[in-house]
Symmetry: C2
Subunit: 155 residues, 2 copies
Amino acid sequence: MTAAHLGVTVSAPSPAAALSALQGHGLRASAARRLVVEALYAAGQPVTAEEIAAGLGGRLPTSDLASVYRNLETLEECGLVRHFHVGHGAGMYAPAGDGRDYLACERCSALRAVDPESLAPVREYLRRRFGLDAGFSHFPIVGRCSDCVQQEERA
Amino acid sequence: MTAAHLGVTVSAPSPAAALSALQGHGLRASAARRLVVEALYAAGQPVTAEEIAAGLGGRLPTSDLASVYRNLETLEECGLVRHFHVGHGAGMYAPAGDGRDYLACERCSALRAVDPESLAPVREYLRRRFGLDAGFSHFPIVGRCSDCVQQEERA
DNA sequence: TTAAATGCAAAGCTTTTGCAATACT
DNA sequence: AGTATTGCAAAAGCTTTGCATTTAA
């Protein structure tokens, strides 16, 4: 059972801290891993494995996509990374413990970061009414964002 | 712009009615289409394209998977079928206008049908607080069902 | 030194597409 | 008859896996 499977989240405040944490788990801080970690922090928002492998579009060195996936999985098992799924596209990855939840637009794919506390009433309602424990961290709420709703009203 | 794209839902009460509706759209009621429609109604719950193509595991004739996908799309464009996505797996298809929403368990994959009205407070909250128009019909709410929560508490 | 990690290639899974053959109207 | 639809095969998009080679500790 891994950290991620236990729901443990290790809030690493920086790439260096994340790599130290990795080594604390007996894992190596390889170049490929450094790249993944740096990309996640540099992006400032959730990114896909593909974007990481591409060095965030040139800002960082590139890496092999399969290795990126393997390293994201490793980092997630250590509680340093989390990922979630939105719509049909590729999975989105972010540093764990970023203290954010996301709302996704199914039309324009926009991601809106929100305070997890602001979803507490929803979680509470679902728990009480259905016994459903919805975290929204792995499968965020998907809908149409206000911009898209307005656009559709005009049309 | 198709019926489905307009958000129009044509509640066909039976396979025969659905096929009539199809013909009303100038489309043909082919054998392959009949199979898809009958499978959707016979299943009584959302099913995957693969399950339809397999004739619901022997209960019905089989069909080509690519044709099933094409026919599901056609039916959806006529407002006769809807589909939604749960977790990582394949898309789930059901007759449109079944008057149900679903809650999904991310652990055991169970689908729980609920009265759409029972999610109104959640929709209302999301709309007011975030301007998010969440229908939950294409991307249902995902969480851990009560059974799985209990199991985890014991462990 | 040596086990962990990488890079490449190939495969898996769901869904889509091209196209000649078929079947509905 | 004429066109919508089918079935098959191939490909696309995301992710995982096998394996020989490299590299961190």
